[in-house]
């Protein structure tokens, strides 16, 4: 492990100033991903700016009735927050589906959004990886890709984003606030992650040196009837092979509003807007749910060994929307 500098920031402008324009500096949240990557040599920062002590650890109701989640709120605190659990249950479920109790106690909201893919080629500095070393190639496309992307990938990278939390945030139209050297800014969740394209190493639209300060959830009554389901290769402590956040408002057996987002299928949490459009105003039936899933997944481009994800996501859409329909009718 390379020797590195360590500074602890006490306020947001100070943190941004400490990091400055140093391309070798990194913010340190819980360290549950960054420190692992430092041990394996994937990340070799010269300076860590610890932001855990920043006063960004609150979950607050906004003036319009949404929720503003500070970026250093731990995953454990987020999942336990009564307002999150009542108004955005899929978010609490998603957070609890991730990692382990110990990791959730350390991991922060900001860090969760910026965690890196668990693609095995990305994790091994001895192997090529366009995300780690631009232009070096993507061995996953012809190699091991059972848990890689079926949507929105490119010939340069087929890795998936590992976050559970982000899937729920995508469904609920979260807004990411940040502080950069030239002041604060905001990014809608749909714009936060960049398309893979030819530059898989560029993952977010954050300006250089920017620090995530908060994630804001706009008010969404539909979110009160929401769920998160995660499928993985063991019962806990594994990343998803497919996950889904869904919220549903059914009146008179018709879909008034629906939110759907998929995890572990793309380089970012995947908002299933095509499926939402197909469903909205239509019948709340298993057939309609399946048709909507098919419409969304028509764009899927599975690789030889990950085609099962198309079946899995279709099944999850149907299963979760049926569950929510039944929940709404109780």
């Amino acid at each position: 492990m390379r020797e590195f500098g360590y500074r602890r920031a006490v306020d947001v402008p100070g943190a941004v100033a400490l990091l400055g324009a140093d391309p070798e500096a990194r913010y340190l949240g819980g360290g549950t991903n960054l420190v692992d990557l430092m041990k394996t040599g994937v990340e070799r920062p010269g300076l860590l700016v610890d932001v855990r002590e920043l006063p960004l650890d609150r979950v607050e109701t906004t003036a319009d009735g949404g929720l503003r989640i500070g970026s250093t709120v731990t995953n454990s605190d987020l999942a336990a927050d009564p307002e999150v659990r009542r108004r955005y249950p899929a978010l609490a479920q998603a957070v609890l589906a991730g990692a382990s109790g110990q990791l959730r106690n350390m991991a922060t909201v900001g860090g969760n959004l910026l965690q890196r893919t668990r693609c095995g080629y990305f994790a091994d500095p001895a192997r090529p990886c366009n995300k780690r070393v631009p232009g070096s190639g993507c061995p996953a496309i012809t190699g091991e890709h059972r848990n890689h992307a079926i949507l929105g990938a490119s010939e340069h990278c087929v890795a998936v984003h590992p976050s559970d939390m982000g899937v729920a945030l995508a469904a609920f139209d979260a807004v990411v606030s940040y502080e950069a050297a030239d002041g604060p800014g905001e990014l809608a969740f749909k714009d936060f992650y960049l398309p893979v394209g030819e530059s898989p190493h560029r993952e977010t639209a954050l300006p250089p040196g920017a620090l995530i300060t908060a994630v804001t959830l706009p008010p969404a009554p539909v979110a009160a009837t929401s769920r998160y389901r995660k499928v993985r290769e063991r019962a806990s402590y594994a990343f998803a092979i497919g996950s889904i956040a869904a919220a549903l408002d059914v009146r008179d057996e018709a879909v008034r509003e629906v939110r759907l987002a998929f995890g572990a299928v793309a380089s970012r949490p995947w908002r299933a807007r095509t499926a939402e459009r197909v469903l909205t105003g239509g019948p709340a039936t298993a057939e309609a749910f399946a048709a909507a899933a098919d419409a969304e997944l028509a764009a899927a481009e599975p690789l030889p060994d990950n085609g099962y994800k198309v079946t899995l996501m279709r099944n999850l859409v149907v299963a979760l929307l049926i569950e929510l329909t039944e929940e709404a009718s109780r």
Binding site: M1, G120, P139, S236, N315, A319
Partner: protein
């Protein structure tokens, strides 16, 4: 000598539960493991492994690294001390990977190419990662599949019976009313001990002293002496506390590197492996491809048992995973054929991993038995009882004891097997389909010569010295109880010292033979000591010490089929829409001789069964064909059962006496995993109607194979 057998023994210490004698030291952190002991002037070595799968080392560019902070030396094939890797040790020739840095040849990814030694582990690691190694890369081939070109049947040896055949397979198949002919595969699996491999070597007063984590201090000392051409008496290896072994902890590159560096630098050197390094440096279980053909009469009586097993090995060492051996013990048939075949590839050498042979072999054979039961319309337990042999199916020898049917009877009673509807795909609970399955288990119960010393101390206590290894099993506690009973004293008056090669030859902790072999030596020494004490007289200040050697007694043991047996039961829930499989409960009933310490014995069985859950559902090392190396070589990427995957796992045992056996103790370290994966796979069939013949039973496999829901037609 104690000749009591059976588990009902209540007199004395053996047979009642005792916590580990070193348990307090372990849970308080007082117990020092191999990488914990402080040494003055300790230096730290970090191994550098090849990133190419085949070729030659063109250059190791040491100069820039030697200028880095704290770096003391860089050892590689150009400057490392010479060792002799051409010897025959306790368990045969060594895997050439232990003859580190002797030439520039690279037979697999993850092969040791250099050792960087520095003042601190951090400096060593940073320098090792910075070390530029240039390769002349050659094309490699790591693709393993059934019947691939290059597969051959190995020669027989004392450690390997490659092929057995009796009867006419084709004629009996033709005469069979029912035939099962199926192929099964198991993936590459790894034994990642909680404590990574670690060794500290130093020269002191002309002796090589190694503090190590291993399964046999005498074994490792002997191999190091041979490798470095030293007088065996000048090598001492100690390994008092060991955090798991499972077959991976013999002589390995880390000890050799530590000795080389300590020799070159004239100071103590420690080498600890990382998880990633453990994927290639310490062995693993080969993937297997197995074909099982069973032919039977309509009632299930076997006419044919044909088990053909194939595994891979490296290009530099022949390791045979003896998956077909289990049929030589379990079932007889008019035509009986078992064979092991092996194919060398550009991979690291596999090795023994918990229940080598029996673990993958039982998955294939016990799954095939279940398929036969289905085809015959016979209950799986009844099928097994109809094929219970009276003597060794291949050897013809009598069984020393064989209580597998007693295990099934007790297991069936406690599991509620009698209420089972044999039809698959019938039971639904929400999104889950439920099913139950069973399988038999067996593992050899061998003994090997060992020596022990028992001292009657002047203060009335006793000290036992034996080069046994407690790799977390509770062996040290078991030996304490065995000695206490033999001495007819309370266990707290007996001190057992283990894992020091200076104590003399003893069996390793392996092959489920440790406690049986060591216990025998301890009981023999106590027997003689008591003879001396019976003569009366004072005990001198240095005590009275008696040494035993069981070589003659072990050699005189009558030739018999000696094995432990068991019956595994599992209930699973399967969601075929997501592919998830959850084990709901497991029960294992074992016939494993005299159970010394029920507390730690249960832990051994439950640990093996839990590993069986991992084997059935999770474990699989993934190899990148293009690079020939592992993908996701860490414990986040290599999945095994998490706590949430492990439901109620119950283990118990039936009486398994053998009045003719001088020890009565059988091994229990391996049998817990045997049959467990088959029981789970058979339960998945019962839940879904779909046979899963390829492990692990992953969600994508379940999802794509669906279910055969006979309830809805």
């Amino acid at each position: 000598m104690t000749t009591t057998t059976g588990t009902l023994t209540t007199a004395g210490s053996v047979g009642s539960a005792h916590v580990r004698v070193e348990g307090r030291a372990k849970v308080t952190g007082a117990a020092r493991y191999a990488a914990d002991l402080p040494f003055a002037e300790l230096a730290h070595g970090w191994m550098v492994l090849s990133t190419v799968a085949r070729g030659r080392v063109r250059s190791v560019e040491s100069a820039p690294v030697l200028a880095m902070p704290g770096v003391l030396t860089v050892l590689h094939h150009g400057n490392a001390p010479r060792v002799d890797g051409d010897y025959v040790g306790t368990l045969g020739r060594p895997d050439p990977i232990v003859a580190c840095f002797q030439d520039d040849h690279i037979p697999c990814a993850g092969w040791p190419v250099a050792l960087v030694v520095a003042q601190t582990p951090e400096q060593a690691r940073e320098a090792a990662e910075a070390l530029a190694v240039r390769y002349d890369e050659e094309s490699h081939d790591v693709a393993f599949y059934a019947g691939r070109p290059g597969t051959y049947t190995p020669e027989n040896s004392p450690m390997l019976q490659a092929e057995t055949l009796k009867g006419d397979l084709e004629a009996e198949l033709a005469a069979s009313a029912v035939v099962v002919d199926a192929e099964y595969t198991t993936p590459q699996e790894h034994h990642h001990t909680l404590e990574p491999h670690a060794a500290t070597a130093r020269w002191e007063d002309g002796r090589l002293e190694v503090v190590d984590s291993n399964q046999g201090s005498m074994w490792v000392a002997d191999e190091l002496a041979k490798l470095f051409s030293l007088d065996p008496a000048s090598v001492r290896v100690r390994s008092e506390h060991v955090g798991g072994g499972f077959g991976s902890k013999g002589v390995r590159p880390h000890q050799v590197c530590a000795v080389m560096a300590a020799t070159v630098l004239h100071r103590p050197v420690r080498v600890v492996l990382t998880r990633r390094q453990m994927f290639t440096a310490v062995g693993y279980r080969s993937p297997t491809a197995q074909r099982v053909r069973l032919g039977a009469d309509a009632d299930g009586r076997l006419r044919v048992l044909d088990h053909q097993a194939q595994n891979l090995t490296s290009r530099v060492y022949e390791f045979v995973e003896q998956s077909a051996s289990i049929g030589r013990v379990m079932y007889d048939a008019d035509a009986h054929h078992t064979v092991h075949r092996v194919v060398p590839l550009d991979v690291a050498t596999p090795t023994w991993m918990r229940a080598p042979g029996e673990a993958p072999g039982s998955f294939a054979l016990e799954s095939a038995l279940d398929e036969l039961a289905e085809k015959c319309g016979v209950d799986p337990i009844v099928l097994r009882s109809r094929n219970e042999p009276v003597s060794g199916p291949v050897s013809g020898l009598p069984f020393s004891s064989r209580n597998v049917l007693a295990c099934f009877r007790e297991g069936a009673r406690r599991f509620g097997w009698a209420d089972r509807d044999p039809r698959p795909g019938l039971r639904r609970e929400g999104r889950w389909l439920l099913g139950t399955g069973t399988a038999a288990a067996t593992y050899p119960s061998g003994a090997a010569p060992s020596t022990a010393a028992v001292t009657a101390e002047a203060d009335g206590t006793f000290t036992v010295r034996i080069a046994a290894a407690d790799i977390g099993t509770g062996a040290r506690t078991a030996l304490t109880l065995i000695a206490a009973d033999a001495l007819e004293v309370r266990p707290d008056r007996v001190r057992v010292r283990i894992a020091d090669s200076d104590f003399g030859p003893a069996m390793i902790a392996g092959g489920s033979m440790g406690t049986r072999s060591w216990g025998w030596a301890v009981m023999t020494a106590v027997d003689e000591l008591q003879g001396q004490l019976a003569l009366g007289g004072d005990i001198p200040p240095e005590g009275i010490t008696v040494r035993s050697d069981t070589s003659a007694a072990v050699a005189a043991l009558a030739a018999k089929e000696r094995h432990s047996f068991g019956a595994q039961f599992a209930e699973v829930a399967v969601d075929t829409s997501s592919g998830e499989v959850r084990v709901r409960r497991m029960l294992g009933i074992f016939a494993a001789g005299r159970i010394v310490n029920p507390l730690t014995a249960r832990s051994q069985f439950v640990g093996g069964m839990t590993w069986g859950i991992s084997m059935a559902l999770h474990e699989e090392a993934v190899r990148d064909q293009a690079s020939g190396s592992h993908v996701s070589a860490d414990l986040a990427g290599y999945h095994f059962a998490a706590n949430a995957d492990v439901p109620l796992v119950e283990a118990d045992w039936v009486d398994d006496p053998d009045a003719d056996d001088p020890v009565g103790i059988k091994g229990i370290g391996e049998i817990g995993i045997v049959g467990a994966a088959a029981a789970i796979a058979n339960a998945v069939w019962h839940a879904t109607g779909v046979r899963h013949r390829h492990l692990p039973i992953r969600p994508d496999r379940v999802l794509l194979s669906g279910s055969r829901d006979i309830a809805s037609g």
